[in-house]
């Protein structure tokens, strides 16, 4: 059974993504910031990690770079709604750090689930 970690400071978005992926039959964990996520992905092994970029404690870049050091950057999907600057900037930077995919908010659930499937298949 594939496991997925979702990291976003918006609890509602976490719940929505978790529901959408659980509907597809994945096991989903959520974390509301990079710090909490770190304890999770160090403890458990995840097939896909979906992370927001702008977060209050331990931002998305930290997570991405951390996972890159762990050799897991190809399992990472970066999502961003943009903030003070446009979302594309952050996502472009994220892409620079070799993430598997980037999605800007609001998310297209269908495409996201397809990408998740794709990543899992590529690893199995």
């Amino acid at each position: 059974m594939s496991t997925i970690l979702i990291i976003d400071d918006d609890a509602q978005l976490n719940l929505m993504l978790k529901s959408a992926l659980e509907l597809k039959g994945y096991t989903v964990d959520t974390a509301c910031n990079g710090k909490k996520a770190k304890s999770l992905y160090q403890k458990n092994s995840y097939d896909v990690i979906i992370t927001d970029i702008i977060m209050p404690e331990g931002d998305g870049f930290e997570v991405i770079l951390d996972l890159r050091r762990m050799g897991l950057s190809n399992r990472v999907i970066a999502i961003s709604g943009g903030g003070r600057t446009s979302a594309e900037d952050y996502l472009a930077t994220a892409q620079h750090f070799d993430v598997a995919a980037i999605f800007s908010k609001p998310l297209d659930l269908q495409q996201l689930r397809n990408k998740v499937d794709e990543i899992i298949k590529s690893h199995s």
Binding site: D10, I54, G81, R84, T85, Y90, T93, P106, L107
Partner: protein, 792 residues
């Protein structure tokens, strides 16, 4: 047998020859003393008498001596003629001697003596004729029965003639001299001479009479063979004596004696003559005047009553500065006493004195004046020196002023009280020509200038001038200057027509003096450039301000949009999930579809809002041309406010000529960010932040680690260098990530460098970064200079 009239004695003949020589030499002898011409006629007469007498007598002695002469023979006649010639000479002797004495003693000659002389000569001629023709007429002459000439007719007859015509004259002359000696009060030289003269005169006369008359008669003419021989020789002495006497006595007015007498009378020093007893006998006028007395008062007074210091009246001595009281006045005298010996037995004592009190007084005054004069000369030299120093100083300061005025970078002139130009510097002359010593027409003079000149109020104002080109070149001198009002200028600024307008700062400064009106100094500074620059700076400031306000709004909206996007995203996501699980024909499915539509619409309107804000921002951010040094200045100023005390900031090597095209706010943000980071890096240990700006041309593309490639081209290179902690490789990799920060929570979000990166990209600018841990970091920004010409 005749009487012998001439002797044949060789001694006498020899004596006669010598006498003749002496007589002939006599005029020369006299002439040596005084000119012959000055001698009176009587002296000449004496000489001629002597010459004739000696000559004829000598001829007689040689040719007609002895007694062997026949009466009527030629020899006899010749003998008588020569005797007569000699007689004509001696008959006049007395007259000449008397005449000389009278002239010498200034006695008026009486005519009867002359008559008598002529009468004597006639008698002599007649008697000679009688002796030649008929000698017996004389020898037989009977006077009252007595024949006086019978025995020796020649001797007695001529002796008789001699007594009648010569002796009286000589006696009278002797009387005159004696009278002169007795009568004269003048005890000086002439009297002495007269005494000598009379003695000699008497002696020689006696001698002649003794030998020529008394001895022959007494000896009864034993060996007597001559007549008047002694008188003949002595006449020479008489002539000499007469001449001497005349020159000594009657020439006294023109002689050394006369000169001394005059000197004595005219000299300003006193002379007192006194005898051995000290009795004053004579005083010169100066002595009387000095002593304030008269001759009568002083005569026979003792010399020591006047000069008590003189005790020994006969000693020669000198007394210096002796004090004498005369009429209660103190006088100081120098007195010298000495003796004048006039002859063996006579001498005078003389006191020669001068009143030196005045001389001393004058000497004192002269001494003082001399000192004063020297002091004055010294003063003059000192004054001249001071004058020279001052002149040098004045010259120096004048040339200093001249140089200063002529090199002033603005227009400078001065006018005197009447408004005439006195000074103009090069800038002013270049602008409106040489106007020195001229004045401007009244309508051209500004009211501010008049205020300064007449009231002494300094004036300073800004003027706007537009140069209007003359339409017709033949008209006037060309361009005219139109003075604009401030409103006109503002209008021109709005319309962008400021190119031909010059802005000046004008000053009229009065040089305050005790009286109005005043001289004034005029200064006109071209501040067009400064004003434009200021305006530019204001505009940049305004732009930055607007931008930052919009950015603030954008940031707020961005944050809001971020949150709202998430919210809407969740809503749409849940809607999608619901639609997946719900029956498609149920009514709820329709409702959820509507809810999703509404959320999508909200998302669209949110995007529109964001786009609007961003679009506006970017529109306002349109690139402008500006000099980057202004931004650097601003940043440095801003930093100063928040700078920790251990950090220093400096702007070095700032090239103010560089102008770039770009977004003012962006550059400000970038430099601010870099500078803030640099200051942060130095917070702990302190250090120096250096910002520099220079032009750099890259010949080939610049490739450095951690930064994109920079293309070849011309750039404004802005360097921000700190001496902070530096960065490690991991940090360096991520410095441009948003929210990447090494700052502690609360110190910063970490968005600075990442947004700076975007801004750099927008401006087509590149950067390089060099860092060493523990030493510091250098950021170089390369901002392209698009158009080289803009630099100017």
């Amino acid at each position: 047998m005749q009487e012998s009239l001439f002797t044949n004695s060789p001694y006498v003949i020899a004596l006669s020859v010598i006498a003749l020589i002496i007589v002939c030499y006599f005029p020369i002898m006299l002439g040596q003393k005084t000119s012959v011409k000055q001698l009176p006629r009587s002296i000449h007469q004496l000489v001629i008498i002597s010459i004739f007498w000696q000559a004829s007598s000598l001829i007689g002695d040689i040719f007609f001596s002895g007694s062997n002469f026949e009466l009527g023979s030629k020899a006899y006649t010749a003998r008588q003629i020569f005797f007569g010639v000699a007689g004509l000479a001696w008959i006049q002797l007395g007259n000449a001697v008397q005449h000389t004495a009278e002239i010498s003693l200034n006695i008026k000659r009486k005519g009867r003596w002359k008559l008598m002389n002529i009468f004597g000569a006639i008698i002599m001629v007649i008697s000679t004729l009688i002796f030649i023709k008929n000698p017996s007429f004389i020898s037989n002459a009977n006077i009252f029965g007595y024949r006086p000439f019978a025995e020796r007719p020649v001797f007695y007859f001529y002796s008789f003639i001699f007594c009648i015509f010569v002796v009286p004259n000589i006696l009278v002359a002797g009387y005159h001299i004696l009278h002169n000696i007795v009568q004269s009060s003048d005890s000086t030289l002439p009297r002495q001479v007269s005494i000598y003269m009379l003695s000699a005169f008497s002696f020689f006369s006696m001698l002649a009479i003794l030998f020529d008359f008394f001895i022959p008669i007494a000896t009864r003419f034993a060996d007597y063979d001559q007549f008047l021989k002694w008188t003949q020789f002595i006449s020479i002495f008489l002539a000499i004596l007469s001449g001497q006497y005349f020159t000594s006595v009657s020439f006294k007015n023109k002689s050394a004696s006369w000169f001394l007498d005059k000197l004595k009378d005219k000299m300003i020093d006193g002379l007192l003559f006194y005898n051995n007893n000290g009795q004053i006998k004579l005083a010169n006028p100066a002595a009387l005047s000095i002593l304030h007395t008269t001759m009568d008062n002083i005569f026979n007074k003792s010399i020591s009553s006047i000069f008590p210091q003189i005790t020994d009246t006969t000693r020669e001595s000198t007394y210096n500065k002796i004090k004498i009281k005369i009429n209660d006045e103190d006088h100081i005298f120098n007195v010298t006493t000495f003796q004048i010996r006039q002859s063996l037995s006579t001498y005078y004592n003389v006191a020669f004195f001068s009143d030196v009190s005045k001389a001393l007084h004058y000497q004192q005054i002269i001494k003082i004046r001399d000192e004063q004069f020297k002091e004055y000369q010294l003063d003059q030299i000192r004054y001249q020196e001071r004058l020279n120093i001052w002149k040098k100083k004045v010259d120096e300061s004048k040339s200093f002023l001249d140089t200063l005025i002529s090199t002033l970078p603005f227009r400078f002139w001065s006018k005197n009280e009447q408004g005439v130009f006195m000074t103009q510097n090069q800038n002013d002359i270049k602008e409106r020509g040489n106007l020195l010593q001229t004045s401007e027409p009244d309508d051209k003079i500004l009211p501010q200038e008049l205020l300064a000149r007449n009231e002494g109020e300094p004036q300073s104002f800004i003027s706007y001038e537009r140069t209007v080109k003359a339409k017709d070149d033949s008209f006037d001198e060309g361009d005219t200057i139109e003075i604009l009002k401030q409103d006109d200028y503002n209008k021109a600024v709005r319309e962008g027509k400021t190119k031909d307008i010059l802005i000046f700062n004008n000053m009229f400064i009065p040089i305050i003096a005790p009286q109005k009106p005043y001289k004034i100094i005029g200064i006109k500074i071209d501040i067009t450039k400064e004003m434009r620059l200021e305006k530019e700076r204001d505009m940049l400031q305004e732009q930055k301000h607007i931008h930052s306000r919009l950015e603030e709004l954008g940031t707020i909206c961005g944050g809001f949009a971020h949150d709202y996007n998430n919210i809407l995203g969740s809503q749409i996501g849940f809607c999608d999930l619901a639609l997946e699980v719900i029956e498609k024909d149920s009514q709820a499915y329709l409702f959820i579809q509507e809810a999703r539509k509404a959320a999508t619409r909200g998302k669209q309107s949110l995007e529109e809002l964001l786009n609007t804000i961003r679009g506006k921002t970017s529109e306002k951010d349109k690139p402008t041309e500006f000099p980057p040094y202004m931004i650097i200045d601003d940043v440095v100023k801003k930093l100063w406010i928040t700078l920790p005390p251990n950090v220093k900031v400096k702007a070095e090597n700032i090239d103010k000529n560089i102008r770039i095209v770009g977004n003012v706010a962006a550059l400000d943000r970038i430099i601010s960010n870099l500078a803030n980071n640099a200051v942060f890096a130095m917070k702990e240990n302190g250090g120096t932040l250096t910002i520099s700006l220079k032009r750099e041309e890259l010949k080939e593309p610049l490739i450095t680690p951690y930064a994109p490639q920079i293309e070849a081209g011309i750039y404004a290179k802005i360097t921000v260098e700190d001496t902070g902690t530096g960065m490690d490789t991991a940090t360096l990799e991520r410095i441009f990530s948003p929210f990447f920060t090494t700052k502690a929570p609360g110190e910063g979000l970490g968005l600075g460098l990442s947004s700076a990166l975007r801004l750099l990209k927008d401006g087509n600018a590149g950067y390089t970064v060099q860092t060493t841990l523990g030493e510091g970091t250098i950021f170089n920004l390369y901002w392209p200079i698009r158009n080289e010409k803009m630099e100017a």
